[in-house]
């Protein structure tokens, strides 16, 4: 039996399909008038902090706050897709390492005009290191919410048991002293002297302390083959391969200095104050001290994160985005963040909210204020992901003793030089866009 589909029915079904697709596309766009913001969040404890932030935003701005929380691993990809599809939030959190990457590609807008037009906004209340991390090509692209130097955690219980005096709370020990201590405290396979990540993120602190860097001052060529950088890398690799003061690496992907330290049988851990919240779960007494001083002093990596506004935000939305960004980085909001122990806040006025334990946590603020030891803002390029990938391929093999440090650096240098040229091209393109 045959039956016909009437023209009216056909139009009706087509109309329904169009309406359904319209509804779907509407679901993915930004809710108008709401304070939308994006942030990474990987645990219920983090979510709790961002929920408190959201309530704070609603109290301050008297509008609905809509946070989009994504696990940290997937955050950059989700943000990229939202930026490309025009569905990004009014304000998005950015890891300081990626600010030049996004800024150079025009994904986020500079904030200098908004800052200049707002007399109430006190940029000086933010640590200089945070401002530097948020700046690309002499323009500010983000307002920091946290900033902190890498410090040295130590297991007080373990040191006391070994009859070794606790390190100075303010004076960084020398590399030589640190190495001797790490060796003295190592009794494999039961006890180890030191743990850090076998990756560039941790290596740079040693490189900076030796007076070196990954790239030269203008970011046009690799500087890993400079004596300072090579010596620093060799020092760390010797701790792993020659002195064997670190727990053996069984997997480069899952290797975690935090997990090693929490085992309770490692004396020292290199890490940032952002891990304080996790180390508080330790079943032993511990504290933090300044990072060991190399030839250039104690100047480890200082890293931080910021809030930024996507380039696609314009008109009335831009004003709302700026208000929202100011609220999210206000002293009140950062007090919530610091009181929850997440990390050291980027504002000086919120600093006192990041409270002990550990006893010596205040050293973080003193380092940032230049009163004790020092720090070096993380120098990154506009193609830092690529640089990290390259360094992540060959440098970890030195930690395993599979290749020597000079061999690894010799292989890396020409490829790093190519990436530095790309970085220069990215800067030129960004300047052309600006012009």
């Amino acid at each position: 039996m045959r039956s016909e589909l009437s023209r009216r029915s056909l139009l009706k079904y087509t109309g329904a399909a169009v309406a359904a697709s319209g509804l779907l596309s509407a679901c993915s766009s930004r809710p108008p008038g709401a304070a939308t913001w994006s942030m990474w969040s990987s645990s219920p404890a983090e979510r709790k902090v961002w929920d408190a932030f959201s309530q704070y935003v609603e109290q301050q701005l008297m509008i609905e706050s809509v946070p989009t929380l994504t696990p940290s691993g997937g955050y950059p990809t989700k943000l990229d897709l939202q930026l490309v599809s025009g569905t990004a939030s009014l304000v998005t959190a950015l890891n300081g390492q990626l600010i030049p990457t996004y800024a150079a590609r025009g994904a986020h807008r500079p904030l200098d005009d908004l800052i200049a037009a707002d007399p109430d906004f006190e940029l000086d209340d933010f640590y200089p290191a945070s401002r530097k991390i948020s700046t690309f090509n002499h323009q500010i692209y983000g307002i920091g919410f946290d900033v902190a130097p890498t410090v040295l955690y130590y297991n007080k219980t373990l040191l006391a048991k070994a009859g070794i005096a606790a390190p100075s709370r303010t004076e960084p020990m020398t590399w030589a002293t640190f190495r001797e201590l790490a060796k003295e405290l190592t009794r494999p396979p039961d006890q180890y002297g030191f743990t850090c990540s076998p990756a560039i993120d941790d290596l740079v602190s040693w490189i900076y302390c030796a007076g070196g860097n990954v790239m030269n001052d203008d970011g046009s060529a690799s500087a890993l083959n400079a004596p300072e950088a090579t010596e620093a890398i060799q020092f760390v690799i010797d701790l792993f391969v020659k002195d064997q003061v670190t727990p053996p690496i069984s997997n480069l992907v899952t290797e975690s200095s935090l997990a090693n330290f929490l085992e309770g049988n490692v004396a020292f851990m290199q890490n940032g104050p952002w891990q304080v919240v996790n180390v508080r779960k330790a079943k032993f007494d511990w504290d933090v001290v300044p990072f060991p001083a190399g030839a250039a002093g104690s100047t480890p990596r200082v890293s931080g994160s910021s809030f930024a506004i996507p380039s696609g935000v314009k008109g009335d939305e831009l004003q709302l985005a700026w208000k929202l960004l100011k609220t999210l980085t206000s002293t009140g909001a950062l007090d919530i963040y610091a009181k929850a122990g997440r990390n050291n806040p980027a504002r000086l006025s919120a600093g006192s909210a990041f409270k002990p334990p550990p006893d010596n946590l205040g050293v973080v603020r003193d380092i940032l204020a230049g009163k004790v030891a020092g720090g070096h803002p993380f120098d990154v390029t506009t193609n830092w992901n690529q640089v990290k990938q390259l360094l992540g391929q060959d440098l970890p093999r030195t930690f395993l003793g599979q290749v020597s440090v000079p061999e690894a650096i010799e292989g890396l240098t020409p490829r790093l030089d190519v990436l530095m040229k790309q970085h220069q091209d990215n800067i030129r393109q960004a300047e052309a866009r600006k012009g």
Partner: protein, 294 residues
């Protein structure tokens, strides 16, 4: 006369095909066409793209990571597919021996295939721990000192292959078992009457009658293996060095971590080309090697 397209059966047929067709057009054909266009562009995702001509394809030649990733992918494919086929076939033959509670065994053996790769990968990371991991503990019982599997230059890829074989043999086993159970018993009886040994029956009856299933599993396994990504990402992140960096992993990093969409699209088209050529070769060979009963 009613036009044929307004015929109710024709419309019903199209409606049944439509979900699959829409899915194919949006998620398969569309991206292939888009990749073709994007491969001709310089595009960092955020700024306006510019025309690059064939420059992205020219970049492939001197890129050592691309060739290393291609080599690793080929190594993975040409080792994991035959091993998976062998294990699948052996288990299917075993289950086809009239075992009692065959459904229980079949379900148990299918479990690895039904489990998500991420979970399996994490379990295997634990199995491969050099000191105290199950694999090295078992090897230790036989006096063999196992290597640090996932950080070893030589053993990282074989370790991934072993995990992948374990993860995927269930699919082939089920297909082979279905194929084995469809072989008429008269053929084996005739072979026996003719004095065939078990091996001769297997070679002259089982293999030809099972060849369509073998062909199907080979084609799908090779395509799947060329696209290997998640286990390498989770278990080794492409290391040590670039020993386990696969092509799809490199494409993902190029496109979504390095924001070089044009170059990533060019790489993906080359991978697509490889898969098409290998699959086409298999289809040419199947005319000679695959026996269809009808």
């Amino acid at each position: 006369m009613t036009p044929r397209w307004r015929n109710k059966e024709t419309i019903a047929a199209w409606l049944f095909i439509l979900p699959s067709l829409i899915g194919f057009l949006i998620f398969t054909a569309g991206p292939v066409v888009a990749a073709g266009v994007i491969s001709l562009l310089n595009w960092n995702l955020f700024s306006s793209p510019t025309f690059a001509g064939l420059r992205n394809f020219a970049r492939l030649g001197p890129d050592p990571t691309f060739w290393s990733a291609l080599g690793n992918t080929a190594y993975f494919t040409f080792l994991s597919v035959p091993l998976t086929m062998l294990v699948s076939l052996a288990l299917a033959l075993l289950l086809n021996q009239g075992l009692r509670r065959i459904a229980v065994f079949r379900s148990l053996l299918l479990l690895p295939y039904a489990t998500i790769t991420v979970a399996v990968a994490f379990v295997w990371i634990w199995l491969y721990i050099p000191h105290g991991g199950l694999v090295n503990t078992v090897l230790g019982w036989f006096g063999v000192a196992g290597p640090a599997w996932l950080i070893s230059d030589h053993w990282a890829m074989p370790a991934l292959i072993a995990m992948s074989v374990w993860k995927s043999f269930g699919f082939g086993m089920v297909v082979f078992l279905a194929g084995l159970q469809a072989i008429p018993q008269q053929l084996y009886e005739a072979a026996r009457v003719d004095g065939s040994s078990a091996w001769q029956s297997f070679r002259n009856v089982t293999v030809p009658m099972l060849s369509p299933a073998l062909f199907f599993v080979i084609v799908t396994s090779i395509i799947g293996s060329f696209q290997v990504f998640d286990q390498a990402l989770i278990m080794t992140n492409g290391g040590p060095g670039s020993r386990t960096t696969t092509l799809v992993m490199y494409i993902y990093r190029t496109g979504f971590e390095n924001y070089d969409q044009g170059y990533a699209a060019a790489q993906s088209l080359v991978l697509f080309g490889f898969i098409v050529v290998i699959t086409a070769a298999q289809f040419v060979l199947q005319r000679r090697l695959v026996h269809y009963d009808n």
